[in-house]
């Protein structure tokens, strides 16, 4: 997450939290019915497929070393006047009704410790489960199932107190022991074990208190609990290892799941947040093609849809029949980035001069112009414009074909006279066009470039296993930069499974990442991640293009789909990275 302001106890009269810098950018209305999400972060990429499973999660979270406490579960505040901000309504909600939501993929189950929750998985999970903490619209982390999360002085121990009288869908109570059992499942699962590696032990104290002990100061601990590892499932599901039928504390209860066809949930009448949810039933329809999803929305087959396709985002953003929220221009949290990942241990890319030549030969503005559908904007940094973590000038090379040619001429003799690069991507038509454009740019500088498009699972395996030279990629979204540690650290760049796909082992980056992880001083963290940005621009394991936006678009009868209110009454993260919370959506009659 980008820099949360640690107003973690705002509205509750609790002690002031540690203050951190932030750039809280609230949603603004552009055009007719478009808003940028106030709350940008994406927990999607890491869990996208199995490749990441062996090593950990891209844990979203706020990273603010805040004291979290709740004043109790309050109901969302409503007034009688409606607003025209897309996805936000302050009118009195209508209780009842049903809705069909078009999502972009199908998941592989409902076990937080074992299933790969991509954007769809997290949205499904938000319907049937609750996380222990949540991210607020301003980027801070707030209590959710937890009533409070409190660190010791050096932030190596975190004490979490649960809300009392919360029940799972099967009627069993939420207790500290249930949270402990959930943690054990996370700790022993290959998918999630590395994500919770910094947590050395967990104990309980009484029915509602869980104590987490960390191996080092873990400033972003509350943020971890906003993510996949923060969902708590009932022991009846956990003990049976049942990935098919979710049993959580969430606002909706499972009705049916037919993979690749639908996931249907119904209102949980015993939901611990009084008055919620508003809808009686929701049916999620996985529709893989963005264009088919758009057609489904336009035909009324679905009421709400997410999209990651700039063309579809563009098509719908100025249509008065719909209201759209995007996370493109939000600087709360760190968004996904589109970039080329270079394997810095593979010849000839192990030569910094070769990587520099590629960087100079690549024109992000041209790529965005060709394929951005007037939605994308160029970005040559790990962080988006407006982020406090973004260095004012990170030194990333600007497009300069003459310079690229010079560097190719300089480097080629050391590599047999020819610089041959294989560029790989997934089998997506749009991506195919993008890598063709890159091929053209790089060949203009003197490279010999071959292209290869492969199915996604193999693609991820190849990245994890290092079987690639250059790969078009998209990742790094997280609400706190610390949650990208596993992708960037030299400690995760070793074979056989390297989550640092680029295998860049710059000790300066490790030092900066450790500084960001363990220092609660906002200035120190900002300095640390700005340095990471600069070192990446020097090492060039990544060739940046642009942010990779998500949108959620609904018909005008769908209300409040990007405006959750958290249990403590603050505004929650409405929409980011294709993920939203369905509990407070309602429909006009």
């Amino acid at each position: 997450m980008a820099a949360p302001t640690g107003t973690g106890t705002r509205g509750c009269g609790a002690p002031a939290p540690v203050e951190m810098a932030r750039n809280g950018h609230n949603g603004t209305t552009r055009g007719g019915n478009v808003a940028d999400s106030a709350d940008r972060y994406d927990r999607r990429t890491f869990l996208r497929q199995g490749a990441t499973s062996a090593a950990g999660l891209a844990l979203a979270g706020a990273g603010a070393p805040v004291l979290l406490s709740a004043c109790g579960a309050s109901s969302p505040t409503t007034t009688s006047s409606a607003t025209t901000t897309p996805g936000v309504s302050r009118a009195t909600p209508r209780v009842g009704g049903s809705m069909i939501i078009g999502v972009s993929s199908e998941i592989d189950g409902f076990l937080p410790a074992q299933s790969h929750f991509d954007a769809t998985g997290l949205t499904y999970a938000n319907a049937v489960f609750d996380t222990l903490t949540s991210v607020a619209a301003d980027g801070s982390v707030r209590p959710h199932l937890a009533a409070s999360v409190t660190p010791n002085a050096d932030m190596t121990t975190w004490t979490l107190t649960l809300r009392p009288k919360v029940e799972f869908h099967d009627g069993s109570p939420l207790t500290a022991d249930v949270v402990l059992q959930n943690f054990h499942a996370l700790k022993t699962s290959p998918l999630t074990a590395q994500a919770v590696t910094p947590i050395s032990s967990v104990t309980t104290s009484g029915d509602l208190t869980v104590i987490y002990t960390c191996t080092e100061p873990l400033v972003a601990f509350p943020a971890y609990l906003t993510t996949q590892v923060g969902y708590v499932i009932a022991l009846s599901q956990l003990d049976k290892n049942d990935s098919q039928v979710p049993v959580g504390t969430g606002p909706f209860k499972y009705v049916s799941w037919e993979p690749n066809d639908h996931f249907t949930v119904e209102r949980n009448p015993s939901y611990w947040r009084a008055g919620l949810p508003y809808l009686d039933t929701i049916t999620f329809k996985p529709i893989v093609s963005d264009q088919s999803r758009e057609a489904s929305l336009r035909s009324g087959t679905v009421d709400l849809m997410v999209s990651h396709d700039p063309g579809v985002i563009r098509d719908l953003q100025h249509d008065p029949s719909f209201q759209q929220v995007t996370d493109l221009h939000s600087s709360v949290g760190q968004p996904d980035m589109d970039f080329i990942c270079l394997n810095v241990v593979a010849e000839p890319l192990s030569d910094l001069t070769v990587r520099q030549a590629l960087a100079y030969a690549t024109d992000p503005a041209e790529i965005v112009k060709l394929f951005g559908d007037n939605v994308l904007v160029p970005n040559t940094s790990l962080f988006p414009p407006g982020s406090v973590y973004r260095a004012a000038d990170n030194g990333y090379p600007s497009f300069d074909l003459a310079k690229a040619k010079q560097l190719v001429a300089k480097a080629a003799p050391a590599h047999g006279g020819s610089l041959d690069i294989s560029l790989v991507d997934i089998t997506d038509p749009r991506q195919g066009l993008i890598i063709q454009a890159l091929q053209s740019m790089w060949q203009a500088a003197g490279f010999k470039v071959s292209l290869n498009q492969i199915e996604q699972v193999t693609y991820i395996d190849n990245l994890v296993g290092g079987q690639f030279q250059a790969a078009a990629d998209e990742m790094f979204s997280a609400p706190d930069p610390d949650l990208n540690y596993v992708w960037l650290s030299p400690t995760t760049a070793n074979p056989p499974i390297a989550l640092n796909f680029a295998r860049n082992k710059d000790p300066r980056i490790e030092a900066a990442l450790q500084q960001g992880r363990t220092h609660s001083d906002p200035a120190a963290r900002i300095e640390a991640y700005q340095n990471v940005d600069k070192y990446l621009a020097e090492d060039l394991p990544y060739l940046w293009f642009s942010q990779a936006p998500w949108s959620v678009t609904g018909s005008t009868t769908v209300m409040n789909f990007a405006n959750p209110v958290l249990p403590d009454g603050t505004r929650g993260l409405g929409f980011a990275g294709g993920v939203f919370t369905p509990a407070q959506i309602w429909t006009k009659a």
Binding site: Q49, A54, P190, T301
Partner: protein, 314 residues
């Protein structure tokens, strides 16, 4: 007749046996350790042991086949490593969708193609025949996905009559069910209309030149009666053979339409499973599709025996 059918049944069993071997070997033809290939990054000791147990990979190949085919006969095709759903369930959910798509689309195709072909064959190379032949040429040239996209844009997006995506099972009512399969069925039917029209027209023109048709005309029988009672049956062999092949191929060939309309049929599920390396699903679906294909064509062969006595006597 019984002997003919008996012979064809034996052939069917032999073909199914070979199909089962090919489907069985699908997992074993994966490069390297199939458990690693199937599990990929999910390769944990527990998952590996479970997969080994499921596949019986610690036994000899014949013993593995015996175990596998035994499980198949008990309806156990394994468990999807993607969704953890049984493959039998996945097949059970996908198969009816294809079946309905095929029935509706082929019914449409026959309803349109047969009258067109009869009328066109009656006066070959005249205006109607030329229009019909040219139109079906055009239909043949239009890819199914183009038809599907046009239908979605016009009928679903603009006019809002039918849903753009999704499948409503019969349990939700015949109306919603038909609404959800109509556009995909039309998309599939368009190509079939063209093929069936051309097959039937050509045979019908030849049949109408036969002596027995001249005799029927001489007897003063009406043209519709001659066409339907005397000419249609002997003209429909190529049509039936073509329909058998076409219907069989639609089980997997409909995947483009299934993806565009988000219908989780067999073809759609196979594509998803291939992309996710969910090989047990691919194996199970491939087995079912292949058997369905040969069974359909077996049915067509049996139908021939009723239509043509020469086949029975052969």
């Amino acid at each position: 007749m019984a002997r003919y059918i008996g012979g064809r049944v034996i052939q069917l069993v032999v073909i199914c046996f070979f199909i089962s071997i090919v489907a069985f070997l699908l997992v074993h033809l994966l490069p390297g350790d199939p458990t690693y290939t199937i599990l990929g990054p999910n390769d944990t000791a527990q998952a590996r042991a479970e997969l080994l147990r499921q596949l019986g990979l610690d036994k000899s190949l014949p013993a593995q086949y015996w175990t596998w085919i035994g499980n198949v006969f008990h309806g156990n095709l394994g468990i999807s490593f993607l969704t953890h759903q049984t493959v039998s369930n996945a097949v059970g959910e996908a198969f009816p969708i294809d079946l309905e798509l095929i029935i509706v689309s082929q019914a449409m195709a026959f309803i349109v193609a047969i009258p067109l072909a009869l009328v066109a064959a009656l006066r070959p190379n005249r205006l109607f025949d030329r229009i019909a032949t040219t139109s079906t040429y055009a239909l043949l040239a239009v890819p199914t996905f183009v038809v599907a996209v046009i239908l979605v844009l016009v009928v679903a997006v603009k006019i809002h009559i039918f849903p753009a995506t999704g499948y409503n099972p019969l349990s939700q009512g015949i109306g919603p069910n038909l609404k959800s399969v109509l556009l995909p069925s039309i998309s599939l039917a368009v190509g079939s209309v063209a093929i069936y029209y051309r097959l039937l027209r050509a045979d019908m023109i030849a049949t109408l030149q036969e002596d027995f048709i001249t005799m029927a005309r001489a007897k003063g029988l009406s043209t519709p009666y001659i066409l339907l009672r005397h000419a249609l049956r002997p003209s429909s062999f190529a049509l039936l053979a073509g329909a058998g092949l076409s219907i069989g191929s639609l089980f997997t060939g409909a995947f483009v339409v299934e993806i565009l309309f988000q219908l989780p049929g067999i073809g759609f599920q196979i594509i998803q499973a291939i992309n996710a390396r969910d090989y047990l699903v691919v194996q199970g679906m491939a087995l079912v599709v292949a058997i369905a294909y040969v069974v359909i064509n077996f049915g067509v062969d049996i139908l021939f025996t009723f239509l043509d006595p020469r086949v029975r006597r052969a």
